[in-house]
């Protein structure tokens, strides 16, 4: 697998030289492969948001380098916009960035800035709307007439329309109801499967991350403390708890069973997986399901 994004010892200090100086990210080095789905977790203030904003050049690292396809993104600072089209970024509560008269025009904003026109633009917008689950009947409405969840989908479509190779989503499900989360999350993973691009998902909900991520970046106190497959990160429940995080509920249930002497594997991540493990276990012990 080829590497698309590489961070070389990057760090960022807010307000250097003032009394409010704060080291937000410190010495993070990692490689992200093409087509991977990466989860980013860490408690509030651990540096996740700063880290992901350095990936598309919104924040310039105070030290270290960010390589996109092996090229330092700050080699030509004037062309940083091109990096932003390739690394799409969906912020927290993205619905607050909507501004156009119609949903269609708002989704088109990024793609237009990228230079798409006419038929290409139209196709990009419709495709993005479909991926993000924006109803076609909503496209000609004002974005301010939509409901909260619909607004959020429209805003996400606006970033997808730029057709980025890497898509970063900062807590896209925050503030949605359980049903809305479920739908949005499966839409994102459906988009990932179809488009085959790289996705970074920042989230506080371990269950969400466990369901979709291949690998997980764990941030704690400005440092990247773990970067491993989802299974092995969640198998280290104690280490996670030290950083103020927890494992998915089902994983900790299975861990408890294991501690009580049942033969269940480490790092069970989803309820479905747990069901089949438990069914097999009960069959083995000769009990009815």
């Amino acid at each position: 697998m080829s590497c698309i994004l590489e961070l070389q010892n990057i760090g960022f200090t807010y307000g250097a030289g003032t009394p409010f100086e704060k080291r937000a990210v410190d010495g993070v080095s990692l490689k992200i492969n093409k087509g991977e789905f990466i989860g980013v977790i860490g408690h509030t203030g651990s540096g996740k948001s700063t880290l992901v904003q350095m990936l598309n050049g919104l924040i310039r690292p105070t030290d270290g380098r960010v390589l996109l396809d092996g090229k330092d993104i700050w080699d030509e600072p004037k062309k940083i916009r091109n990096v932003r089209f390739r690394v799409g970024m969906v912020f927290q509560y993205p619905e607050y960035q909507l501004f156009e008269e119609t949903v269609y025009k708002d989704i088109a904003f990024g793609a237009q800035n990228k230079g798409l026109t006419g038929k290409e633009l139209d196709e990009a917008v419709l495709k993005a709307a479909r991926f993000a689950g924006v109803k076609e009947s909503h496209l000609q409405k004002s974005p301010f007439d939509l409901s909260g969840g619909e607004k959020r989908r429209a805003a996400i479509a606006g970033v997808i329309a730029m057709d980025p190779d890497v898509l970063v989503l900062d807590e896209p499900t925050a503030g949605l109801d359980p049903m809305g989360r479920e739908i949005l999350l499966s839409q994102i993973s459906g988009y990932h499967k179809q488009r085959g691009n790289t996705i970074l998902l920042v989230s506080h909900t371990m269950e969400d991350i466990a369901r979709v991520a291949d690998r997980i970046i764990v941030m704690n106190r400005s440092e990247c403390v773990m970067f491993d497959t989802t299974k092995s990160v969640f198998a280290q429940g104690d280490k996670l708890r030290e950083t103020g995080l927890r494992v998915p509920q089902i994983t900790s249930v299975m861990q408890t069973l294991k501690n009580k002497g049942y033969s269940v594997p480490d790092g069970v991540l989803t309820v479905d997986e747990a069901t089949s493990v438990l069914a097999a276990l009960m069959k083995k012990e000769g009990k009815a399901w």
């Binding site: 932003r84 607050y96 730029m162």
Partner: protein, 264 residues
């Protein structure tokens, strides 16, 4: 970026100046500004400068921040000084003289006003400031001026400045992430590029205003009638001393003006 401006911030260092009654501070501030325009020679200017330094020192706030607040106006001062130099050379005509005097006056006024107003806002919290304003404007109630409402509006506005600045940063980042181009192009393009920032900002400002209105309604806010304060402000001996010291300033200025013939 936008947040780095020192002018108008509050630094809670709890000095003598901090503990003064905000009403006394506002009145002293106004008196000070008036006095600056009455200085006619270097001696009286020296009196003002001396007292300014004294007050700044008493506020126990690092001189760095005062310099920072001056930075905003340093350009204007340098620019007008250059003009002044240009007009002032060689031609001792009366009108030019007046012109020169005016520019000098403006320099002094700007410098000392900025320092004094920094001293006021650095040492007085926004709540104290608006409380004091409300009390000072109370006599206007006679002519049915809505004193309480105006000061409530002022304190709400002050409260939301940092929030809106933060929001602007966020919206700008989000639009930049969608390739919005804000740093290049001609004037019209630049103005146009502000639309994607201003519209969401207005929308969110209105949303916040509605939220605040609802929250106030929920707590049965019904204007100023019969309202008492959690922290009522009292004049004390300290304020008396401060006012007395400040009376020395115009006195000193006037004495200097009379004793020493006009030089500036």
């Amino acid at each position: 970026m936008v947040r780095d401006v020192a002018f108008g911030q509050y630094f809670p260092t709890d000095s003598v100046i901090h503990r003064l009654d905000p009403r006394a501070k506002i009145l002293m501030f106004i008196a000070y500004i008036v006095v600056i325009f009455c200085t006619f020679n270097y001696a009286s200017l020296g009196v003002i400068a001396g007292f300014t330094v004294l007050f700044l020192a008493l506020s126990r706030i690092s001189p760095k921040f005062y310099f920072k607040s001056l930075k905003v106006i340093i350009f204007i001062v340098i620019f007008t000084s250059l003009l002044n130099l240009f007009y002032g050379t060689g031609e001792p005509i009366f009108q030019w003289g007046i012109f020169k005097l005016t520019w000098n006056g403006i320099h002094r006024a700007i410098f000392v006003t900025v320092l004094a107003s920094s001293c006021l806002t650095f040492t007085t919290s926004p709540t104290e400031l608006t409380d004091a304003m409300e009390r000072l404007m109370k006599p206007l109630k006679v002519i049915h001026f809505p004193v309480h409402e105006v000061s409530m509006m002022m304190s709400l506005a002050l409260r939301f400045i940092p929030t809106l600045l933060e929001e602007t940063d966020k919206i700008m980042a989000a639009q930049k992430a969608r390739g919005a181009n804000m740093d290049s192009g001609n004037l019209i393009q630049r103005v146009k590029s502000l639309i994607p920032i201003l519209i969401p900002l207005f929308v969110s400002a209105f949303r916040r205003a509605y939220d605040i209105a609802t929250a106030m309604e929920c707590r049965c806010y019904r204007g100023g009638a019969g309202r008492t304060r959690m922290k009522s402000i009292h004049m004390s001996t300290r304020d008396g001393i401060a006012v007395a010291v400040l009376v020395l300033v115009p006195a000193g200025v006037i004495i200097c003006n009379i004793l020493i013939p006009a030089m500036v």
